[in-house]
Structures are given as structure tokens and as C-alpha cells.
């Protein structure tokens, strides 16, 4: 896996819109963004309504994922090209999610919706419909997903990477600052976690930094190549961004995303917390 296999430029995306075998997918929480204009021919996935179980805090199961992709008109052999707002946070989350269910060919548009808009590239309001397919997912690949017990057991032994902002890491604030700061969980971080904010891996326009810059970033912050790695944030979308950087761009092995993240960890009774 290397950058060219998993990341496409906005130029490439624009030149390849509508190409058979490619499905462009916008992933946002704010679906109004898609409705106000999207890449020509792109479909939308709502990270919450489409990708989260409606009752429990978990993913949709394999059968529901198959039903979703079938209804959206995505085939197993399509190349899925993801982009979205929030510096591709949710697109990276969807990338990780597609990989969890075994989709082979998935790519991100570098810079996502922000770079596309800042470049003044065209957006379409056309309704997009694709003929239904019969999608078959794999069993979830749990080698890329961490659960809470593994996180607690990893304190002091694995690379734990807290990708939230420094003020969330220190417990000064409990959520990214575009959200109200009223939460049940305690503030702070998992003991021995390094704070390497996701934003250090991205440029202001939302594109990823170069492989050389990224390698240097994790080196400088004390990333140990000989250890397995778990990344977390608040609900698992920013840590998907870092998971993408570590595993897909830098090719590091044994990297998991802890999607329970701080909302779960900071609410657990009896686990250690550092501030």
C-alpha cells in the first residue's frame, strides 16, 4: 500500500468524475452540505444514519452494510472514492469502515470538500441514482478495530495515540470547540498516550502532508516502530484520519482505531485517567 493506491488529488477526481467503475461518495454528518452541491455523480452516506446501529452504540452489522451498499448501487468490484467535509474526518472514518468490511479498492480525495471549494471547483445539485446491486461484505476485520479492554491493557505497552487537540488531551475542554462543552465523561487522556493531534498531519486546505513530513512527525513524537498502535479521539472519526496516515500512507503494521474513544473511555468506572 502506498499513497498512490489510497489517495487521489482533486485534479484526478475532477478528471475522472463519471468514469465507469468509480463511485464517488460524500460522507458528512451535515447532509445539507451534500444537498447544497456535491461532486458530479457522487452519492452520499450519512455517517450516523447509515453507518451507526440505530439502537446500540456500534456499527451496522454485516447484513445491514450489505443492504446499504446494495441500495446505494455500489458493487464489490467498484473503486469507492470518498471525500467529505471536516478535513475528511468522516470520509476517513468511512474509509476505515469500508476496509473493516473488506472492500478492496477504496480511495480518499486529498483535501476533501474543503480543498474542492477553496479551489472553486464545480458542484452539482443533480439527484444521483444508481441501479441497485447485490453487495457482499466480509466478516469485520477486527485487526484494525480496538475495543476498550485492549486499550486498558495497552497502557504502558503499545503506542497509544490521542489525536485530539492539546486542550482536549489536557482536559481543558471535552469536545472539539464547535460543540457545546457539556458532557458526562471525565476530562483527560489514557495514561501513557502521546498527544499527536490529527491536524499536525494535514495542511490548512485539508490535504495530507507529504510522506516525509508525516514520517518525521511521528518519529519526533516518540512513535515506537516495534510496538503495536492504537489511535483514539472523541468518537473515532479523527482517529480514523490518523489511522489512515499511519497504516495506509506510511504503511505501518498493526495499527488499530479505537472508535469507542474518549466518549467511552472517559465514562468507564475505575479506569486510570491522566490529566
Amino acid at each position: 500500500m502506498s499513497r498512490n493506491d489510497v489517495l487521489v488529488t482533486a485534479d484526478w477526481a475532477q478528471e475522472n468524475l463519471g468514469r465507469p467503475g468509480l463511485v464517488f461518495v460524500e460522507v458528512d454528518e451535515d447532509t445539507a452540505a451534500y444537498d447544497g452541491g456535491h461532486l458530479e455523480g457522487a452519492i452520499k452516506l450519512d455517517w450516523k444514519k447509515d453507518l451507526q446501529d440505530p439502537l446500540r452504540r456500534d456499527f451496522v452489522d454485516k447484513a445491514a452494510f450489505e443492504a446499504l451498499l446494495s441500495a446505494k448501487g455500489i458493487s464489490n468490484d467498484d473503486t469507492v472514492v470518498l471525500y467529505g467535509g471536516n478535513n475528511n474526518w468522516f470520509a476517513a472514518y468511512a474509509y476505515w469502515y469500508f476496509k473493516l468490511y473488506g472492500h478492496q479498492d477504496v480511495k480518499l480525495v486529498d483535501g476533501g470538500r474543503k480543498k474542492w471549494e477553496l479551489d472553486g471547483r464545480p458542484l452539482s445539485k443533480d439527484v444521483v441514482e444508481r441501479p441497485a446491486t447485490t453487495y457482499q461484505a466480509s466478516e469485520p476485520d477486527l485487526s484494525i478495530r480496538a475495543f476498550r479492554d485492549e486499550v486498558v491493557a495497552s497502557i504502558g505497552s503499545k503506542n497509544l495515540i490521542d489525536v485530539r487537540s492539546p486542550d482536549e488531551f489536557s482536559g481543558k475542554i471535552l469536545a472539539p470547540a464547535h460543540l457545546p462543552q457539556e458532557m458526562a465523561q471525565k476530562g483527560g487522556h489514557v495514561p501513557t498516550a502521546m498527544n499527536i493531534p490529527w491536524s499536525k498531519a494535514a495542511n490548512e486546505d485539508g490535504t495530507f502532508k507529504t510522506d516525509e513530513q508525516l514520517a518525521a512527525l511521528y518519529d519526533e513524537q516518540g512513535y515506537d516502530e516495534n510496538k503495536a498502535t492504537i489511535a483514539y479521539c472523541r468518537i473515532g472519526e479523527r482517529s480514523s484520519h490518523t489511522w489512515f496516515v499511519l497504516r495506509e500512507l506510511l504503511g505501518k503494521s498493526d495499527v488499530k482505531n479505537y472508535d469507542g474513544s474518549w466518549v467511552e473511555y472517559g465514562s468507564l468506572v475505575g479506569v486510570p485517567i491522566e490529566k
Binding site: D28, E29, D30, A32, A33, W47, K48, G85, N86, N87, W89, F90, K114, E117, L118, D119, G120, S165, P166, D167, K172, I173, A175, P176, A177, H178, L179, P180, Q181, E182, P197, S199, K200, E204, D205, R234, I235, E237, R238
Partner: protein
């Protein structure tokens, strides 16, 4: 949850005795700028959050008391402002030259 909520609108439901709200709008040439990307940077200049301005050019953050920098990005240009925020409502304007 982490997606950018709709910007602008009233402060009903926001407890200004506990929340540190930083809000305002982005302007250029006498008009509000819709669709600008406004990011909030902490006292060490590290990214904390980003929102897209409303049709009226508005943005809003829920921060904590202290020093913050606001920076807007848009196709027509950039603007930046540093401010000291306290608990309650902190209003400001970003003007793109």
C-alpha cells in the same frame, strides 16, 4: 456529533454561565462571507476546531477561558484575529482585507 452544526441562530439552550462562546461573522467589502472556513487555534497555535460560515457569514465556537486565534480561509482571502475569551459570550468580527 463531531460534524459542524449549523452556524448562526439564537443562543437559546446555551448556558452562558458555564459555556465560553466565541462567535461572530466574516466580512469582506461590506458584505458577510458565506461558506468561509473558520478555524479556532489554541494559545500554542494548534488547531482546535473548524466550522463553515452560515449564509449570513456567521460562526460559533464553544471554547474555554483563555487566549484564542481565529483564522478564516476562503477563495477570496484570509483573515486572522487573536482574542482573550471569558466565560459567557465573546463576539468578534473577521474582516478579509
Amino acid at each position: 456529533m463531531c460534524g459542524a452544526p449549523k452556524q448562526g441562530g439564537g443562543l437559546a439552550g446555551v448556558d452562558l454561565t458555564t459555556q465560553t462562546v466565541i462567535q461572530g461573522s466574516v466580512w469582506h467589502d461590506g458584505s458577510p462571507v458565506a461558506g468561509a472556513y473558520v478555524r479556532l487555534l489554541d494559545a500554542t497555535d494548534e488547531f482546535t476546531a473548524e466550522v463553515v460560515t452560515s449564509p449570513e457569514g456567521e460562526f460559533r465556537f464553544f471554547a474555554a477561558p483563555g487566549q484564542w486565534t481565529l483564522r478564516s480561509l476562503s477563495p477570496i482571502g484570509r483573515a486572522e484575529r487573536t482574542l482573550a475569551a471569558d466565560v459567557g459570550l465573546n463576539e468578534t468580527t473577521l474582516a478579509i482585507a
